[in-house]
Amino acid sequence: MGKGARELRARACWAAFLALPTWVPLLQNVCLGPSDKNTRLCARTYIQDRLHLSRHRCYVLGECEVLKCRVDSCEQLLCEANTVLKCVQEDSCQRGIYGRLVCTDFKIAFLGDDESALDNDETQFKNKVIGENDITLHCVDQIYGVFDEKKKTLFGQLKKYPEKLIIHCKDLRVFHFCLRYTKEEEVKRIVSGIIHHTQSPKLLKRLFLFSYAAAAQNSTAADPKNHTVMFDTLKDWCWELERTKGNVKFKAVSINEGYRVCERLPAYFVVPTPLPEEDVSRFQGHGIPIWCWSCHNGCALLKMSALPKEQDDGILQVQKNFLDGIYKTIHRPPYEIVKTEDLSSNFLSLQEIQTAYSKFKQLFLIDNSTEFWDTDIKWFSLLESSSWLDIIRRCLKKAIEIAECLEAQNVNILLLEENASDLCCLISSLVQVMMDPHCRTRFGFQSLVQKEWIMGGHCFLDRCNHLRQSDKEEVPVFLLFLDCVWQLVHQHPPAFEFTETYLTVLSDSLYIPIFSTFFFNSPHQKDGNVGRESQDTQSKPLNLLTVWDWSVQFEPKAQTLLRNPLYVEKPKLDKGQRKGMHCKHQRQLSLPLTQSKSSPKRGFFREETDHLIKNLLGKRISKLINSSEELQDNFREFYESWHSKPTNYHGLLLPHIEGPEIKVWAQRYLRWIPEAQILGGGRVATMNKLLEMMEEVQCLQEKIEEKHHSQEALQAEATSLLRNSVRLSSLFPFALLQRHSSKPVLPTSGWKALGDEEDLAKREDEFVDLGDV
């Protein structure tokens, strides 16, 4: 690390802290190394530098950001290298583009020398923040160097510098930068710079998020059309209670205002009405049933974090008594039966998810064509051995089981987890997506993510490892949720207002550090750092962007790709309610079975509470009340009965979970692999036809209306309105279109041994003696 760069970092850090505009003198002494004539960077003012760079469209944050942040720009150049060759794979031969590789405090970017090549990409679906050749620092997954044809992971201090840099991204892009033609000094600087800025642990305050927010101060006009409920006010919770008719049994409380009671809980949340508020503070919110959602029949989905594990018998007794009290409170009507679902012991472990995903993603981080075809023969077993799809199946199955309890058995469900912020978020939101059609609209879904994940205190900062502080904590729980939702979207396309593209870009947004949404571990942490009651008198409170403001990333035209043309809003019956009606399930699941098993009380509370307490106290518990067989039968019956009926897209929605039905989310995982691209094919082809037809119908509709107003006869033919349909890639809108020609991709790998069929293979098709031999 050069002295200059270090100083630069120090200053950047300082600037970020004080939220000062990055000012000219800051960089005046910093020489970034020799540059060529047209990019004289040294000893130039930063502003000029930026003006120059803004010509490269992908360098700065995107065109409109350039305008609004020019004066007090936030993005700082840290290091750069010239004559870097970006290798592009095209028709299974390597091609290169020369350019500059730069690393800023926001991203790594490659600026092609040939600007025209950059300008002519006519992708409709351009991200305004992240260009095609931009990698945010948080998006970098693994960095490899190639030394004498050998690929090695790069980390820490390097003794030798590689001839080629391979960057694997968390959104599964793979970049190859050939450094053979780059000056040695620059190679050292850029490689060590990139390694340092992407891999060394960071401080929260040093996140780009803050410098960006400071710079973009005045331009934070929130999207007025954004109806996402943020759940950061008491009103939002009351609204949600009212929407789900949960207000009969539950109340929103403000006891945690200012996070006085618990830092893991949001400022406002919902608990059972009879629960004394002071109980909440007893164990900092642990052991308190917290409301997630109410079903149309009044049954509720609750979650609870476990009490701290204690060795001391005295404290254990206190805890036991406390829990006894809690259960006595909800023992009474109107709660009836509460069934606990312990997600920490009988379900997935975070470790499993982590291991599975790290194996799974490797299947898509493909360096070249040979690797693609080599893995192709073993594809299914490789997929299976990652167990990612099986984990998805288990999550979906668990959610169906819970839906069955709520819907068919009229049982309340209490989800239990250590901190109630990982699998609780996953399962409770999945259940809501299946059961509550409101969660399948875009704003409903965004509100759900706000409610269960953001306010639910899912540790995004740790789970995404944004600060690179502990790889152990990095677990893609949220991505797992999105993948589960994708399975539903894929199986029931008309049921969702959003598309798979929406889910894909949402998953990408996890790594864009200009949105605050996914960059904190809890609402407490967020408020503490950007604070409404910021201690620093000099700076105004920071105004952070939310990811739900999609206009930051996409132009309106591109945003249409996030909206599902197949979705038809539920016909509204009463116009009375304004904000999101309570959508009752149209089909009340006419199950001929299990007429609301309020049936044999099973002495639930006495015994079950005991079990529960033992469990909460961290001890092993015996089997749950229901024998697992009975559970299985109920599940099967519920599942099969639902699937045997026609689907009501505005009612309960269950996924298929049989082997062949759980699929790979091709758009997210395969999108950057040129070999996997079907030019002019895939689902995109039919969707495109559908959109064209819609356009045509709309045009006709307008014409007819026009006809009524004017007498003149329009002669334009309906068909002429059709735009010339372009042949899209199956990976649209993401494909980089590396394959322009119509050459087919041909497998290069051979045949795998047939094993026991070997002698069959040797046989003649039909044995005939063809005469003379």
């Binding site: 693609f372 192709d376 023969i377 299914f380 077993s381 997929l383 299976e384 051995s385 099986d390 199946r393 197949l566 038809v568 809003e569 099969e640 009965s641 049989e658 082997g659 062949p660 039905e661 070999e675 996997a676 691209q677 079907i678 002019g680 094919g681 895939g682 039919t686 036809k689 559908l690 037809m693 819609m694 356009e695 045509e696 119908v697 709309q698 006709l700 509709q701 007819i704 209306e705 006809k707 009524h708 006869a713 309906a718 050459k743 991709v745 041909l746 497998p747 045949w751 047939l754 069929e757 069959l760 293979a761 046989r763 003649e764 098709d765 039909e766 063809l770 005469g771 003379d772 031999v773």
Partner: protein, 556 residues
């Protein structure tokens, strides 16, 4: 099928066309009768299960294995000894050949308003391809099937090869299946030629006439001075075939040719592979080990190899500008798969309903794919080693292509499934017998109905609404496991647990829009008329169709 346990009634309705069995599930979830419709031709094997002494309802009855991946079990009441009679009746009519009875197609008196037998006329098809031209001629040398009894009567051969040449070449090709033209590229005039293996044998025999003949074929293409030969087999098998008198075109004998092996396995491997597919979907669909089980069947791997081979053939013809010769051992299984798939990729005509019918009729039926042996129509020998799902595999490949290119085919999935259903049903004459000469002898076209009559008289049912005609588009599917999938709607359609073939919502929505568009266009025309009328007659009452107009219920 676990659902079909309790049998309440069993009737043989009407004639012996079909066995109609109606029954009710004992523990029925729904109070509706399940109607089973099994054409007798589909039955592969009938077995009695359980003896008079065995207990339990399920153990006494009949077990029927079908060719379309179904297994049926009928539990019968022991009283009345109904089983024996039923067994005999079923065996007799399911396997008519063993009882010297005619196949059902000869008794079927269905009438359709279209005659499917007229769909394929070889002369017309070759004319569509621009044949004959000055390099290729149509010959009637095989008019009486004397040159080759498994080839069609009409063949297209190089202009410069005389009939005598053809006869001499025939002696050097397995079963006299000489190289003949299948398809010619409309622009670069390169061709796909099909044949059987050369009779090289252990001694490495050569035949000047055969060598010269291939050279003549090569010379019809001036763009590249090489002829490409694709041998569909794995090279090991091709070498091994020398021991039985077969072999392949070696470099030293055939100058100016390039030989590639496509590593596609034989009919036995394919049959076993499909058996394994059945094992993983019946009686239960594997859940957590689905993927590795699927892989262990190798079914999709075979599909991948067949597609890869066809892509290579198509690419060589289209962008490599080289003529190709395709063969396997006899040139009626793998060769048919490769040529027909390559033609499907190259020629958009074959992607229409009639085009596809012509393709099947031409490359499969007329060129002697041994349907009778491969399917075993009316034959009780269910373990016959000649049986193999080669045609099914071809249709699967077509399905994979249509899945990857959902707008490129005029036909839908139902069309493909219908073809497969009637491949076994014996209701139509289309797939009966092994070759054209046999069909002619049996007067199949006069005595039976064609499957295409059924389909073409009701085309709408088989149309893909998204079809976009693109004349010169070459379609290369991606033959990667990442895109190939098991055809659940075919292989697992009988399993009640698997997603039923619900109408595709995208398609449904599209159809709604289409209807709406047509309505609007009509209304617009009416308005236009009304407006011009109004101009003449201002007293006409102002109509208000805008209120009646249905609005598209979607945001745009």
């Amino acid at each position: 099928m676990s659902l079909l346990r309790g049998l309440l009634g069993m009737d043989l309705i009407g004639t012996w066309v079909r066995l109609f069995l109606s029954f009710r599930e004992k523990l029925a979830l729904l109070d509706s009768a399940l109607l089973l419709d099994v054409p007798l031709g589909v039955i592969s094997r009938i077995e009695k299960m359980g003896g008079a002494t065995s207990r339990g309802e399920n153990s006494y009855g009949l077990d029927i294995t079908c060719k379309d991946m179904r297994n049926l079990r009928f539990a019968l009441k022991q009283e009345g000894h109904s089983r024996r009679g039923m067994f005999e009746i079923l065996t007799k009519y399911a396997f008519p050949l063993a009882h010297s009875l005619p196949i059902f197609a000869f008794l079927n008196e269905e009438k359709f308003n279209v005659d499917g037998w007229t769909v394929y006329n070889p002369v017309e098809e070759y004319r569509r391809q621009g044949l004959p031209n000055h390099h290729w001629r149509i010959t009637f040398i095989n008019k009486c099937y004397e040159l080759c009894d498994t080839y069609p009567a009409l063949l297209v051969v190089p202009y410069r090869a005389s009939d005598d040449d053809l006869r001499r070449v025939a002696t050097f090709r397995s079963r006299n299946r000489i190289p003949v033209l299948s398809w010619i590229h409309p622009e670069n005039k390169t061709v796909i030629v099909r044949c059987s293996q050369p009779l090289v044998g252990m001694s490495g025999k050569r035949n000047k006439d055969d060598e010269k003949y291939l050279d003549v074929i090569r010379e019809t293409n001036r763009q590249i001075n090489k002829l490409t030969i694709y041998d569909a087999r794995p090279s090991v098998n091709a070498v091994a075939n020398k021991a039985t008198g077969g072999g392949y075109e070696s470099d030293d004998a055939y100058h100016n040719t390039e030989l590639f092996f496509l590593d596609i396995h034989n009919i036995h491997v394919m049959r076993e592979s499909l058996k394994k597919v059945k094992d993983i979907v019946y009686p239960n669909v594997e859940e957590s080990h689905w993927l590795s089980s699927l892989e262990s069947t190798h079914w999709l791997e075979h599909i991948k190899l067949v597609l890869t081979g066809a892509i290579q053939v198509a690419d060589r013809v289209s962008s490599g500008k080289s003529s190709v010769v395709v063969h396997c051992s006899d040139g009626w299984d793998r060769t048919a798969q490769l040529t027909s798939l390559a033609m499907l990729m190259l020629d958009s005509f074959y992607r229409s309903i009639e085009g596809f019918e012509i393709l099947v009729q031409k490359e499969w039926i007329s060129f002697g794919h041994k349907f009778a042996s491969r399917i075993g129509h009316g034959d009780k020998n269910h373990a016959d080693a000649d049986r193999s799902p080669i045609f099914l595999q071809f249709i699967d490949c077509v399905w994979q292509m249509s899945k990857q290119f959902p707008t490129a085919f005029e036909f839908n999935e139902r069309f493909l499934i219908t073809i497969l259903d009637h491949l076994y049903s014996c209701r139509f004459g289309t797939f009966l017998y092994n070759c054209e000469s046999m069909r002619e002898r049996q007067k199949v076209t006069e005595r039976t109905v064609s499957l295409w009559s059924l389909i073409n008289s009701n085309k709408d049912k088989f149309k893909n609404p998204f079809y976009t005609k693109e004349i010169n588009r070459v379609l290369y599917p991606v033959a990667s496991m990442r895109h190939l999938e098991l055809w659940v709607n075919y292989y697992i359609r009988w399993n009640p647990r698997i997603k039923q073939q619900q109408p595709n919502p995208v398609e449904q929505r599209y159809m709604e829009l289409l209807a709406l568009r047509d309505e609007y266009i009509k209304r617009l025309e009416e308005l236009q008329l009304a407006n011009s009328a109004k101009l003449c007659d201002p007293s006409a009452s102002p109509s208000g169709p805008s209120q009646m107009m249905p609005h598209v219920q979607t945001h745009f």
